[in-house]
Amino acid sequence: MNLFHFVAENHQQILELTLEHFWLVGISTLLAVAVGIPLGIMSARWPVWNKPVLGTANIIQTIPSLALFGFLLPVPWLGDRADRLAVLALTLYALLPIIRNTYTGIRAVDPAVLEAGRGMGLTDRQLLLQVELPLAAGVILAGVRVAVVVSVGLATIAAAIGAGGLGEFIFRGLAMVNNQLILAGAIPAALLALAADFGLGWIERRLRLQ
């Protein structure tokens, strides 16, 4: 049976697992954005937070993914369902590039621009929302882009704890020494990563043009 036949017979399941994969990556990215951007802002605003926040994110990044799933397993509500666990783990991994780029992007804003804004009577909040974040948007988005591409790959491992996604094909293929199965998981995952990279890259370029 070649890959073409496999796809023809299993397109339903491929589609399902791709959607599941997309969902895992999408939710975890949203969560990482919701947590990471404020943390990045915090460390840019108050330098005391810089070391602990970036340090913690860095350490999380160095934990092997399978081990992280294992560590999180005994956590009460989370450990109940594999997809919750997977989403949390992916969120934790996605934090570093988002925090780091938010921090870098805000820090890169021209001090003269900030001084002008402050001198004109912008409040801290207005300065952040009208000046710092818009000017940092391109760099922040670049961080999100890195996070998404990495997440698409990492999410295949979520199948190891039964959270679904395209990793199911890959693990099944590994167990059965079936290359077609492995490719049926790997190719859609790669396409997903490419599409996300391209789409976010396009938005990023638009933002930087402004």
């Binding site: 002008a116 402050r118 001198g119 004109m120």
Partner: protein, 260 residues
């Protein structure tokens, strides 16, 4: 609380000092009164504390000692945001918002003050005209402007909400001689119409003589003396005399030619 007699100072420094957290004093024993409607030129060499003085007026810096009053009220008791919005500020590096068009740069404070859109738009047009810019520049971004145009936008932005006080930190310093000359001329005619209280920083005596109703000479974080341009030319103060001498040397072509 408007107990403003007409002759009251617009800005008053009393015994102001500013010391860095490291303990290094940048300004000390500073006393200065800026009269309503005058153009006071702060003259001094690089590092003498001119920018520091300006920032104490709009409270970008907080004095370590003494008091700065604006329109009769101590800055220590004023709402900082309101204070800053009532003072136009043109910074040394222009600092236009690169992601905003000219129009939005100029209209930012009016927009934050919730002016109706129509009024902001007509104000922007009015200001562009006032600073000598074409109306069609309104939709450009700062990087699409020349240095001189950017400076003009900076001035227009500072004037947007019609502040009674204008702080200008070497606004024409980075321009070529001819453009600077033109902007100085325009500044004078603008000031004749608007009668703002202006504190204008420069290190160029020529600019100070031309624009200033009075010149405040600074050195090493201290105010040396405040003189009218006429008094300045005749001053026996060493530093003032040195400025006048350096100014005169600029025209001394003969010495050079004779030596060669």
């Amino acid at each position: 609380m408007e107990l403003n007699p007409a002759n009251q100072s617009a800005i008053e420094f009393s015994e102001v000092a500013y010391t860095l957290p490291t303990g290094q004093p940048l300004l000390s024993g500073f006393n200065l009164q800026v009269r309503r409607g005058e153009t006071l030129l702060l003259l001094g060499r690089s590092g003498s504390g001119k920018t520091t003085t300006l920032k104490l007026i709009n409270r970008l810096l907080v004095p370590s000692a003494g008091d700065v009053c604006v329109n009769g009220a101590s800055n220590a008791n004023s709402d900082i945001i309101q204070l800053r919005r009532s003072i136009g500020y043109v910074i040394q590096d222009v600092g236009l918002f690169p992601h905003f068009t000219v129009e939005r740069n100029i209209g930012l404070i009016p927009r934050l003050e919730n002016w109706p859109a129509g009024r902001i738009q007509s104000r922007v047009q009015e200001l562009l005209h006032l600073v000598g810019l074409e109306a069609n520049l309104a939709t450009r971004y700062p990087h699409q402007l020349s240095g001189g145009q950017r400076q003009r936008v900076g001035v227009a932005r500072a004037l947007a909400a019609d502040p009674s006080i204008l702080l200008m930190d070497e606004p024409f310093g980075a321009l070529d001689a001819l453009t600077r000359d033109q902007l100085q001329r325009e500044f004078l005619s603008l000031q004749q119409r608007l009668h703002k209280t202006v504190v204008f920083v420069t290190h160029d005596l020529r600019e100070a003589m031309r624009l200033g109703s009075r010149i405040a000479l600074m050195d090493g974080g201290r105010l040396i003396t405040v003189l009218t341009p006429q008094q300045f030319m005749q001053s026996t103060n060493d530093l003032a005399a040195a400025y006048v001498q350096a100014f005169a040397d600029g025209f001394d072509f003969g010495a050079n030619r004779g030596a060669s």
